[in-house]
């Protein structure tokens, strides 16, 4: 069976990886291609690249940086941020991405999910969604867009179901509340998502120590976790290596790639 995946997610600004807390106050970490190479060699299972300001600034994705990163990693690589048309998606795939991720653009124009799935296969289209617990929707979780700045009034769980129905092959669930908090993933959110959809789920936001991964994989249906903070956030008292995390999970009975 499949291993649980540990994913490094890069928030890119101007070709450099940055790290934010609750989608704000980004601090600079390293040039994207340099950190990508380090993460690949360290044994991370996958890489996600978000051009985080593209959508808000209404500009196309930073394709030059995508190309540079794609040249140094030989693991799956997802690209998102500012993809608003089929030709944008194709440009990202052509530049070396394996999958494309849509988020705010999909909320504005849901048919982009269906179009992407039809053209490239549904396994190629990742729906990423920014979720906040607001109590204003049936599940209590609400979808936000544009770098967690704009509330939509949409129910997050309903949106995930709709996204799956439109053709998303994977859903990345970003908890705005837990992002950068280091208190663990939003397990309730991931449980609700796991019951609602059948496609693979990636949990994002909140990991601060290896136990958070163990509880995520043992108590929810998440198949993958974003672990950026633990790997390289300068805000953490200590960072963990990928091997350290995998050894920890493996010893506790979680199937990982070694």
């Amino acid at each position: 069976m499949l291993t649980k995946r540990l994913i490094a997610c890069f928030d890119i600004i101007g070709g450099r990886v940055t790290k934010a807390v609750q989608f704000k106050d980004n601090i600079d970490v390293a040039p994207a291609e340099q950190l990508a190479k380090v993460m690949y060699e360290a044994g991370v299972d996958e890489l996600i690249f978000y051009d985080i300001s593209a959508s808000a600034e209404k500009r196309p994705i930073d394709i030059e940086t995508v190309k540079k990163v794609a040249r140094c990693v030989f693991i799956p690589f997802t690209v998102g941020g500012g993809l608003s048309s089929l030709s944008d998606m194709y440009a990202a795939l052509k530049a070396g991405a394996e999958k494309v991720s849509v988020d705010s653009m999909a909320v504005r124009n849901p048919s982009i999910i269906a179009e992407g799935a039809k053209a490239f296969g549904r396994q190629c289209v990742v729906l990423s969604t920014q979720v906040k617990r607001t109590g204003r929707t049936p599940s209590g979780y609400e979808v936000y867009i544009d770098g967690a700045r704009v509330a939509t009034g949409m129910d997050a769980i309903e949106w995930m179901k709709r996204g799956e129905g439109l053709g998303a092959g994977e859903i990345c669930v970003n908890s705005i509340d837990n992002d950068g908090s280091l208190r663990g993933y939003d397990l309730e959110l991931m449980r609700l998502a796991g019951e609602a959809v059948n496609v693979p789920l990636i949990a994002s936001g909140g990991a601060g120590k290896p136990e958070h991964l163990e509880e995520l994989f043992k108590t929810t249906q998440a198949q993958a976790a974003i672990i950026s903070s633990m790997l390289y956030s300068p805000r953490l008292a200590r960072n963990y290596s990928v091997i350290e995390l995998k050894d920890f999970l493996s010893a506790r009975g979680v199937n990982v790639r070694v």
Binding site: M1, L2, T3, R5, Y40, G43, D45, A70, R71, F74, I75, P76, F77, Y90, L93, K94, A95, G96, A97, E98, K99, K118, A119, F120, G121, R122, Q123, C124, G169, E170, N198, V199, P200, Q223, A224, R257, V258
Partner: protein, 198 residues
Amino acid sequence: MKIRIIDYKAGNSGSVLHAVEHLGFEAKCVKSPAELEGASHIILPGVGTARATMDNLRELGFIDALSEAVLDKKTPFLGICIGLQLLFERSEEGDTPCLGWLKGEVKRFDASAVRVPQMGWNYVSFTKNSPVKAKEGHYYFVNSYHARPACDGDLWAVSDYGGKFTAAVWHENIFATQFHAEKSGQLGLELLKGFLSL
């Protein structure tokens, strides 16, 4: 050496090219069948649906040129992901007639038993030795469909996702992996190197 990577509209020829170049080989992504002339190795990469991929290959005029190079001239061929599925007679995905170089069909995973698509690292065991050296271990898969070869002899590797499924096939000069060798870290790169060293 003339390594040719087929660049049809929905493919991920870029990823494959990067991996091939990283291994120290020169290769070219080609958009027209004429560019297959004299190829030493042909790679058909894959991201996309069976229907869209077959349509693209047909529109670009690749079908006959590929058959000639692979079936008649026996040029070493590597299909990846959808590039494996298209080798068979028919795919359940959009009920699409495919190349039919290998006997068998392509079926969808049972979504009531497993999450579809399969997306992630799965353990691959090679069931026989081929001229392309490959090690068992974790390789990266992204697929909703899997091939069922009619001839057991064509099976090269298996993996398990709610039951055993075809991870790779090998028939004479035709090699194909359901997993993305170009995205499977060191093990995948070694397999690619083995193919390019034929």
